[in-house]
């Protein structure tokens, strides 16, 4: 549980929250790269964009004209096609578990590279809903069922869609304390938008990710999501060359249910 949540909870009689105007600097724009390769048929997408100022409404500012290549350790290589400004896609590449993928980008005189290994798939057996207590409230939350293979080093990430809308809570796990066990941890976040209600259609994507990608999501959640629980900093990226973002080769499986 987050420290600020706990403290604000204790002093709930006296504490208050208010949206304020804050003068923030506009740092020079940075490149932001997002790339995914999965074990389901492509196309796979790499986006190149730029950061926007804090005070403006976010729009995707794609960076076009880049040379984007993905190759794997089995000798396959593909130059991605720009399908929209800053959006690059594969056409023939097939993601295979166990393979290592290399991303190479030349853009605006800069070179960015990254590698990511797609872990072997751990079967996403099923999904069920459990009642849990979340900061004094009983809530419903989905539990993805899978059995972690013996041997440490497995990492997972989940995306939850409630009635087709992406739940912005970040869900990730590794097997430091759960090696070889069947998962019992629920997708639980304090945000009301992450809470399930009777009749909701819930779809959960389970990704098996490698350690650097786990580190990216872990560090993003710790210090870059604005909630002030740790000293803020940029997430630890697996992209070399000075860009923000990540390159993730992962397996993906989906299970869904309707909350009863």
């Amino acid at each position: 549980m987050k420290r600020t949540t706990i403290i604000a909870g204790i002093f709930l009689l006296t504490s208050c929250q208010k949206v304020i105007d804050l003068k923030l600097n506009n740092a020079p724009k940075q490149y932001v790269i997002e790339g995914n390769v999965t074990d389901v048929p492509g196309p796979y997408t790499v986006t190149i964009s730029q950061t926007s100022a804090f005070n403006v409404s976010y729009t995707f500012q794609g960076v076009g004209g880049a040379a984007v290549t993905i190759k794997d350790d089995a000798g396959n290589s593909e130059l991605l096609k720009e399908v929209g400004t800053g959006v690059y896609q594969t056409s023939g590449l097939a993601g295979v578990e166990g393979r290592t993928y290399e991303l190479h980008i030349d853009v605006g005189g800069k070179t960015f590279t990254s590698t990511s290994t797609m872990p072997h798939r751990v079967n996403f057996d099923s999904l069920y809903v459990r009642e849990l207590v979340n900061i004094s409230k009983t809530v419903k939350a989905a539990v993805p069922v899978f059995t972690d293979p013996k041997g440490q080093g497995n990492s997972y990430r989940f995306n939850q869609y409630i009635n087709g809308r992406l739940d912005k809570g970040l869900y990730y796990q590794n097997d430091d304390f759960t090696d070889g066990l069947t998962n019992s941890f629920a997708l639980l976040q304090p945000d009301p938008d992450s809470t399930l209600h009777v009749g909701d259609k819930v779809e959960v994507d389970m990704q098996c990710i490698d350690k650097p990608v786990y580190k990216y999501w872990f560090s993003l959640d710790q210090s870059s999501n604005g909630n002030g629980s740790a000293i803020p900093s940029n997430p630890v990226t697996n992209i070399q060359g000075g860009a923000l973002g990540y390159f993730s080769a992962h397996t993906t499986q989906r299970r869904s249910l309707v909350v009863k």
Binding site: I10, A53, K168, N183
Partner: protein, 773 residues
């Protein structure tokens, strides 16, 4: 080091041949309670010579045979004159009476009204519980650490909390001692109250610089808290009902004049209000803390005294049966005072400190417990030798054996987790120290000494060689008790004081400090689950070197006594610890891979003007300061502001005695906001807003200011029974100070982001009732 030897030779050489001498020694006590009085001054009338009582109320002064008048004085006590004829060694048990409550009685001698102009000690602040009593605080819960924050150079680490930053240092750089036992987490309720129940406290001394050689182990400060011994004259019960807690204090003689006991307890009842709620999810929550302080002391013959003191405190936070976090400290100290003849005082202490936290999760199928603990066994020996009125030598040693158990996770079958335990870590921290306070002439005083810190990281366990990138290059196994690494650090402690005239002086001091216990905190605010680590092959001892210069003046203005102090300091820090971006600090068996090391610097100037007499008393303090760090791997290796860097800090404290019944008080504080990292841009990752940070701590929180008011009224006194009511308002003009500023997507337009300020305390009124019989 050579300087120290020269000084020693010099000071001994100056002992010329004089007529026969004898020694007056003894203790100074309060008449009403038999409590020893610390730092009372004993001055020989007509001679510019005197001593102060030590931490046990003991003094010794050697003079040529003759007739003398000794003037004994201490802040808050009636000055007393004693005639003595010296032709053999004398034992003196001096008792003092509390200064009259009538205002007209405020006749104060030069010794009692100022901080000592003489003496080399600088960078020091004393608070007695009497002073703490009248300062308004949050919920009216008197708190020594919060009252210290009103003094220059001392600031709260995080607003509203009792964690302190002294001269730009972090919270873990304070050595907080309760009857000599280090207290590792001196806070309750996540930092909002300190562990010190002011009813049980006799005296607090804070050293911001120029620490005497007997103290060591932390870089920034020493907070030496001494518990009451217990009244050895009469039985007394006192207590109070406050806005959040109830307290009771029982003390009395076991054998009159010779032995006594003290028992003090406090418990909060905030959670009783939760019980009143009809909402079953609220009324099953619990949130409380309690404290127990106990002390026994015995006089064994004329030369020996034994003290046994203990503290036990615990916090409990639980959400139904589902989530529980409880934590607390336990300390105990056994002390033996012995005088080997009139000029030789010895104290031997056996000290035990323990801290632990327990986390319990039991949420419908997910259930496990986490236990983390820290244990110290500690022995300290200190000898004080009053060679002659000009030289007072202290020598001693201290050994601490640390055991740190970072965490044990237990689940059991069907818990969803595997039982896991992290390696215990062991350390042996030794120090030898020696120091002399030398009165060179009527005007010049020099204190000099040193401390040798010898620390050994011990097995058993696996130790790692970690590359600068945080990769484990090698793992080395050590057996139980095997030395992994030893660090030897000499520490020089010197101070000079030069008296310009009767009422003013200048002082200079230099002090080194070494720290081997480090708190790895992701919040810098002292969360109970923050991890303590001990120096090892990768984590080097932190070091600090501080030089300070001060000017002190006592003066009278319109028949009232004032004191003025100005001090400046510069502190260089080595082996400062920070952690990598995105570090995993909890449940990490190889924490060394997440740490980064660098240096720091802190400098500033502090001014204090204090009105000591009259109906209105109080002070105004101002600090201008800077605290920075440079750690390779953070902020592109450039210097950055430490979180606790606060440029300006003002505090105004006033207490006004309206009439014998009513006391009014107010304090106002203003500080520059903490240095923080705010985003300088934003982007998306997999559909989520991510904030972009361009530098570490480049922004400031809004300035913090607050006014607190309180009034205390003495209720009708009966023969033995007296009571008082206190009313107050914390944050009287309801300033919305930002506790934290967070960032989030706008609910209606998720493309927009907004900054949200959380304020913890608006204006909070309180009332409390205290009694004594």
């Amino acid at each position: 080091m050579r300087l120290l030897i020269c000084l020693l030779v010099l000071s001994l050489r100056l002992q010329a041949q004089e007529p026969p001498k004898h020694t007056i020694s003894g203790t100074v006590r309060a008449k009403v309670s038999g409590e020893t009085i610390l730092r009372a001054t004993i001055v020989v009338d007509g001679k510019n010579t005197g001593v102060t009582t030590n931490d046990y109320g003991f003094f010794s002064i050697t003079l040529p045979d003759g007739k003398y008048t000794l003037i004994i004085s201490a802040v808050g006590w009636e000055t007393k004159a004693l005639e003595v004829t010296l032709h053999e060694n004398l034992q003196l048990q001096a008792t003092m009476e509390i200064q009259g409550t009538q205002l007209q009685d405020a006749t104060v001698t030069a010794q009692t009204r100022g901080r000592s102009i003489r003496g080399t000690q600088m960078g020091v602040e004393h608070l007695s519980t009497k002073e703490i009593k009248n300062v308004p605080v949050l919920f009216g819960e008197r708190d020594v650490l919060k009252t210290l924050q009103l003094l220059p150079g001392v600031k709260p680490v995080s607003q509203g909390t009792s964690g302190i930053s002294v001269r730009g240092g972090s919270a873990d750089q304070n050595l907080i001692l309760l009857d000599e036992a280090p207290v590792y987490n001196a806070s309750h309720l996540l930092g909002f109250f300190s562990t010190f129940n002011s009813d049980a406290i006799k005296d607090v001394t804070l050293y911001k610089g120029g620490m005497p050689a007997q103290y060591g182990g932390r870089l920034s400060s020493v907070v030496d808290v001494r518990m009451n011994d217990g009244n050895n004259q009469d039985f007394h019960v006192s207590g109070g009902l406050g806005a959040i807690s109830a307290k009771i204090n029982v003390e009395g003689p076991i054998e009159k004049d010779r032995s006594s006991f003290l028992l003090s307890a406090r418990r909060t009842y905030y959670d009783m209000f939760l019980k009143l709620s009809k909402d079953s999810t609220v009324n099953k929550n619990s949130l409380y803390f309690y404290d127990l302080n106990a002390k026994l002391n015995f006089t064994l013959g004329s030369r020996d005294k034994l003290y046994l003191s203990g503290y036990f405190g615990r916090d409990n936070m639980a959400s139904q049966d589902i989530f529980g976090l409880n934590w607390g400290n336990a300390t105990s100290t056994l002390r033996w005072n012995h005088t080997f003849g009139p000029r030789f005082f010895s104290n031997t202490s056996l000290i035990y400190s323990y801290y632990n936290y327990k986390l319990r999760i039991n949420n419908n199928g997910t259930n496990f417990n986490v236990l983390s603990e820290l244990r110290d066994w500690n022995i300290k020996e200190e000898l004080q030798f009053y060679i002659n009125p000009r030289n007072n030598v202290r020598v001693g040693f201290n050994s601490i054996y640390h055991t740190l158990n970072p965490g044990v996770l237990t689940g059991g079958p069907k818990s969803g987790v595997n039982d896991t335990s992290f390696q215990k870590r062991y350390g042996l921290e030794n120090a030898v120290f020696a120091g002399n306070s030398w009165k060179v002439s009527d005007k010049l005083d020099i204190s000099y000494g040193g401390r040798l810190s010898i620390f050994s990281a011990l097995g058993k366990g696996d130790f790692y060689k970690v590359s600068p990138e945080g990769v484990i290059l090698d793992t080395m196994h050590y057996n139980s008790g095997q030395v992994v690494k030893t660090y030897v650090n000499p520490e020089i402690r010197v101070a000079f004081s030069y008296q310009l005239n009767e009422a003013s002086s200048v002082k200079v001091s230099y002090v080194d400090n070494t720290q081997n216990m480090h708190l790895i905190s992701s919040t810098n605010a002292g969360f109970p689950t923050d991890l303590w680590v001990v120096s090892n092959n990768m984590i080097k001892p932190e070091r600090s070197h501080q030089v300070s210069l001060g000017y002190y003046k006592n003066f009278d203005f319109r028949e009232n006594a004032y004191e003025f102090t100005a001090e400046t300091y510069y502190k260089a820090l080595e082996n400062q610890i920070d952690y990598r971006d995105g570090a995993q600090l909890t449940a990490n068996g190889t924490i060394e891979t997440e740490l980064l090391f660098g240096k720091g610097r802190a400098y500033g100037a502090e001014w204090l003007i204090r009105k000591k007499t009259g109906r209105l008393t109080g002070w105004i303090g101002y600090t201008l300061s800077k605290s920075e760090k440079q750690i390779p791997g953070i902020n592109e290796d450039r210097w950055y502001n430490a979180v606790q860097d606060k440029t300006h800090d003002i505090s105004v404290v006033g207490m006004y005695k309206l009439n014998p019944k009513w006391m009014l008080s107010a304090n106002w504080v203003y500080t520059t906001g903490n240095a923080v990292s705010f985003p300088s841009g934003k982007y998306r990752a997999d559909g989520r807003t991510v904030y972009y940070y361009s530098e570490r701590n480049g922004y400031r929180m809004p300035a913090y200011h607050r006014l607190d008011l309180s009034a205390t009224v003495q209720l009708k006194q009966r023969k033995r029974y007296s009571s008082e009511m206190a009313f107050g308002v914390y944050n009287a003009y309801n300033r919305n100070n930002a506790f934290i500023i967070t960032f989030r997507d706008n609910k209606t337009d998720p493309n927009k982001t907004e900054a949200v300020r959380t304020t913890l305390f608006g204006a909070v009124p309180y009332i409390s009732y205290n009694f004594k019989f």
